[in-house]
C-alpha cells in the first residue's frame, strides 16, 4: 500500500525543527507530537518510523514536507500520528463534510468517507462504519422535525423498510468479503450518481389516483401545506418502488451511506410521490436501514469508537451550520459548486481504488 511506503524508512536529518519542548514540526505546519522527541539530544543513528498517511494528491511533495530534527547524523524517532492530532483532523474534516453534505443535499456521511480514506489513510471498512453511525445520527436529528410537522408518510416508510433493511443486510454481508479497492470504486460511482441527481430539476407533481396495491397497503396519504390546507396524493407502481428500495438498502449497507438519492428516486420518480414527502420519508427510513447493517458492522469490527465519535459530532455540527447557511443564501448556486467538489472526490476515489491505493 502506497501510504505505508514510508514505514520504517530512515531519514537523514534535514532542517532541524525539533525544539526544546520535544515537539516535532512538519513543514506543512502541523505540530506532530512525538513521544520520543524529548530525547532529541541523544537520538543518533537509530532508525525511526514514519507512519503518517501520505496524501495521494502530492505524495512526493508531502514526504518532502516530513523533515526531521536532530543534531548530527541520522535521527530515529518512532513517528506516528497521535490520537489527539488524528481526532482533531477528523473532527474538523467531518464538520466540513457535514456542511457540504447538507448544502448539497447528499448528507455528511458520503463526504466523510473520501476524507477518511484518501486524506487520512483509514481503511475504507472503518470509514464506512463511522459514516453509517453518522448517518443514523443526522437522520434521527432531522427526521424528528419532519415527523412532527406531519409530512413524513410513516406507513409508506414502514412498508418500504422491508426492502431497505433486507437490502442493507445483504449489502453489509457483501462488503465484509469485498476488497477495499472495489468498494472504493463502487462508492465513487454511487457518489457521482448522487451528485448528478442533486442537480436534477425537481418539480412538485401530485398525482391523485393510485394503483390498487397502493390502496390495499393504505399508502396514499396527505401532507400539510399550510396550517389549514392539506394536499392529498396518490401512489403508483408499488412493486417498482419496492425493488428500487431494495437496491438503495443494499448500497447503504455496502457503502455506509444513507443512499438518500436512490431512495428519493424510488419514491419520487417511480412511485410518483410528491418530492417533499419523498425526501422526508427517505430521511425517516435511514435510521432503521442503517441499523440493520450496523449490527453486522459491530460484529465484524467496523465500528471504531475513536473514529466514530469525531465523525458523528462533526457531521452533526456541520449539518447545523449548513442548514443556517441554507436559510441565509440561495442554495441553487451552491449546489452546482458542491456537485463539482463531490464529483472531484468521487473521481479521486475511483482512481485510487483502481490503482489499489485504498
Amino acid at each position: 500500500m502506497k501510504k505505508n511506503i514510508r514505514n520504517g524508512a530512515s531519514f537523514r536529518s534535514g532542517s532541524t525543527l525539533c525544539n526544546a519542548r520535544g515537539r516535532v514540526y512538519t513543514s506543512c505546519g502541523t505540530p506532530v507530537f512525538c513521544y520520543a522527541a524529548t530525547r532529541c539530544g541523544d537520538m543518533k543513528s537509530e532508525h525511526f518510523q514514519i507512519n503518517i498517511p501520505l496524501n495521494p494528491f502530492y505524495p512526493d511533495l508531502f514526504s518532502n514536507f516530513v523533515h526531521l530534527i536532530t543534531g548530527e547524523g541520522q535521527v530515529n524517532i518512532p513517528f506516528y500520528m497521535t490520537v489527539l492530532v488524528f481526532v482533531s483532523i477528523v473532527l474538523l474534516g467531518a464538520i466540513c463534510a457535514g456542511i457540504i453534505g447538507s448544502l448539497s443535499g447528499l448528507g455528511g456521511g458520503i463526504v466523510v468517507i473520501p476524507l477518511l480514506t484518501i486524506v487520512l489513510g483509514v481503511d475504507i471498512h472503518y470509514a464506512i462504519g463511522a459514516a453509517l453511525v453518522s448517518v443514523i445520527a443526522t437522520s434521527s436529528g432531522s427526521a424528528a422535525a419532519y415527523v412532527k410537522e406531519g409530512i413524513t408518510n410513516m406507513r409508506l416508510g414502514m412498508f418500504l423498510e422491508i426492502a431497505t433493511t433486507a437490502g442493507a443486510v445483504a449489502g453489509a454481508l457483501i462488503s465484509t468479503s469485498a476488497p477495499s479497492s472495489s468498494i472504493a470504486v463502487l462508492f465513487g460511482c454511487a457518489l457521482i450518481f448522487s451528485a448528478g441527481n442533486s442537480l436534477r430539476k425537481k418539480e412538485e407533481k401530485v398525482v391523485t389516483d393510485s394503483s390498487t396495491l397502493a390502496k390495499k397497503l393504505k399508502l396514499p396519504s396527505h401532507y400539510p401545506l399550510t396550517k389549514d390546507k392539506e394536499i392529498s396524493y396518490g401512489t403508483k407502481n408499488v412493486i417498482g418502488g419496492f425493488s428500487m428500495m431494495g437496491l438503495a438498502g443494499m448500497l447503504s449497507g455496502m457503502l455506509g451511506i444513507g443512499s438518500g438519492a436512490f431512495k428519493v428516486i424510488a419514491m419520487d420518480t417511480i412511485m410518483k410521490i410528491p418530492f417533499k414527502v419523498s425526501t422526508t420519508t427517505s430521511n425517516f427510513m435511514m435510521g432503521v436501514t442503517a441499523l440493520a447493517s450496523c449490527v453486522i458492522y459491530v460484529q465484524k469490527g467496523y465500528i471504531v469508537p475513536d473514529i466514530c465519535l469525531p465523525v458523528m459530532i462533526g457531521v452533526l455540527v456541520g449539518a447545523m451550520i449548513g442548514s443556517k447557511i441554507l436559510i441565509a443564501t440561495d442554495p441553487k448556486k451552491l449546489r452546482v459548486l458542491f456537485a463539482f467538489i463531490i464529483f472531484f472526490l468521487a473521481a479521486n476515489m475511483i482512481y485510487n481504488g483502481i490503482k489499489g491505493n485504498i
Binding site: M1, A137, A144, I162, V295
Partner: protein, 126 residues
C-alpha cells in the same frame, strides 16, 4: 385514528430528538475521558482487521469497560444508544399499529424487526 396518528408523530419526533441529545452527551463524556487517557498514543487504521464477535459479546465487553470508566467503551455505549433510537421508533410504531388494530401494518413492522434480528445471526459465525 387521525388523533393517534398525530400523537404518534409527536412521540416519535421526541424520541428521535432526545435520543440524539443523549448520545451526544454520553459520547462527549467518553471522548473527553478517552482523550485524557490516550491523547499521545499513536493511531494506525490503515489495515482492516476483520473480527467475528457476537453482538452480545461486544455489548458485554462495553459494559465491563464502562464500569472501569474506559473512554472507548463509553463512546461505544453512546453509539449503542444511537442504535436504539431507530429501534425504539420501530417499537413505538408497532404499538401504534396495535392500538389502531391495523393487522397489515402490525405484520409489516414485525417483519422489519425480524430482518434486523436476522442480521444479528447472519453477521456472526458463518
Amino acid at each position: 385514528m387521525q388523533l393517534t396518528d398525530r400523537m404518534m408523530q409527536k412521540i416519535v419526533g421526541n424520541v428521535l430528538r432526545y435520543g440524539v441529545r443523549t448520545v451526544l452527551s454520553v459520547g462527549i463524556l467518553g471522548g473527553v475521558i478517552f482523550l485524557i487517557e490516550h491523547a499521545n498514543e499513536t493511531v494506525d487504521y490503515s489495515n482492516f482487521v476483520e473480527k467475528d464477535q457476537h453482538i452480545f459479546t461486544v455489548v458485554d465487553q462495553i459494559f465491563i469497560g464502562v464500569g472501569d470508566l474506559d473512554g472507548r467503551s463509553i463512546i461505544y455505549l453512546a453509539i449503542l444508544i444511537l442504535f436504539f433510537t431507530p429501534l425504539l421508533r420501530l417499537l413505538l410504531s408497532l404499538i401504534s399499529f396495535i392500538l389502531e388494530k391495523d393487522s397489515l401494518y402490525i405484520a409489516i413492522t414485525i417483519l422489519v424487526l425480524l430482518i434486523i434480528c436476522l442480521s444479528v445471526y447472519s453477521g456472526f459465525a458463518h
